[in-house]
């Protein structure tokens, strides 16, 4: 099962190189999502299925959606419409598609192999993680909740309407 790790690692490195060399933010995001999915497969191959699922749901899901929201919100002038037209030309999506097909082939291979050969090393089950997370690491969970609250308040404060509206508005 080692080769699954190495193929995913290769895909992750290639797509990461492509992320930092793109000039278009949306193209870079496509490659970044491929990179994160490759890392999720690496976690799967290393015997960490719970973290692999978290990587897909939170990183490739929630955090990337935030990035896409902001890039679409900024809507960088006239070039945005041109980008939209470009998105339908094959040159843009063929690269991420090929890389993601490699990952999909690995995933199909994994399911074809059967459940008992999914991971290379010893697998750490979600149950063990939960027991450790709410046992010795419970103070970390409390601190994470405070960090998230601080992030929420900070993002709300920074995302408020512009300062000029303070003169006539009632918000302090």
């Amino acid at each position: 099962m080692n080769f699954l790790f190495y193929i995913s690692a290769l895909v992750a490195v290639i797509s990461t190189v492509l992320v930092i060399t793109r000039t278009n933010a949306v193209h870079a995001l496509l490659y970044l999502i491929v990179s994160l999915l490759a890392v999720a497969l690496i976690f799967f191959a290393l015997g960490a299925p719970f973290v692999a699922a978290l990587e897909v749901i939170i990183y490739a899901g929630a955090i990337m959606v935030l990035f896409i929201f902001v890039i679409m919100m900024l809507n960088l002038g006239g070039q945005a419409a041109k980008q939209e037209a470009q998105l339908f030309t094959p040159g843009i999506w063929i690269g991420p598609s090929i890389l993601i097909m490699v990952l999909a082939a690995e995933l199909i291979y994994l399911f074809a192999m059967g459940r008992e050969r999914l991971s290379a090393g010893a697998e750490v089950s979600p149950k063990e993680i939960g027991i450790a997370l709410f046992g010795p690491y419970v103070i970390g969970v409390e601190l994470a909740s405070m960090l998230l609250l601080a992030g929420l308040v900070g993002a709300y404060h920074l995302g408020r309407p512009h300062r000029h509206s303070k003169i006539e508005g009632s918000d302090a």
Binding site: N2, F5, Y6, A9, A12, V13, T16, V17, V19, I20, A25, A28, L29, L32, S35, L36, V39, I42, F43, A45, L46, G47, A48, F50, V51, L54, E55, I58, Y59, I63, L66, F67, F69, V70, M73, L74, L76, R117, A120, G121, A122, V124, E128, I129, I131, A132, L133, Y137, G140, A144, L147, L148, A150, G151, L152, G154, A155, L158, G159, H162
Partner: protein, 103 residues
């Protein structure tokens, strides 16, 4: 028993991806790309933790990854709010445009 991936290879991969993210932060001047590179670096650190956790078959590495994930979510929400503020104030995404502090 199947052969497992050596820990060194996982750590080399983590170092490689971290270096790529670091180069991204240094080279790119578009602030959205700099945020993406920071995400790449955080992810690389997460790989290192999970590789180490898999080496000793302990849940601690994965727990540290969950904390990194939480931190990344908080960081990216504040960071993107700052990007929007920068764009509204300066009408550009160039990080060098914000080099002067005017009270």
């Amino acid at each position: 028993m199947m052969a497992t991936v050596p820990m060194e290879h996982g750590l080399i991969l983590a170092a490689l991806i971290f270096a790529l993210g670091f180069v991204g932060v240094l080279v790119r001047r578009n602030i959205v790309f700099m945020l993406m590179s920071i995400e790449i670096m955080l992810n690389a650190v997460g790989i290192a933790f999970v590789v180490a956790g898999a080496r000793w078959a302990q849940p601690d590495g994965q727990i540290m990854f969950i904390f990194i994930l939480t931190m990344a979510a908080a960081e990216v929400s504040v960071g993107l709010a700052l990007v929007i503020q920068l764009y509204h104030n300066l009408k550009t995404l160039d990080a060098d445009a914000a080099n002067s502090m005017k009270g």
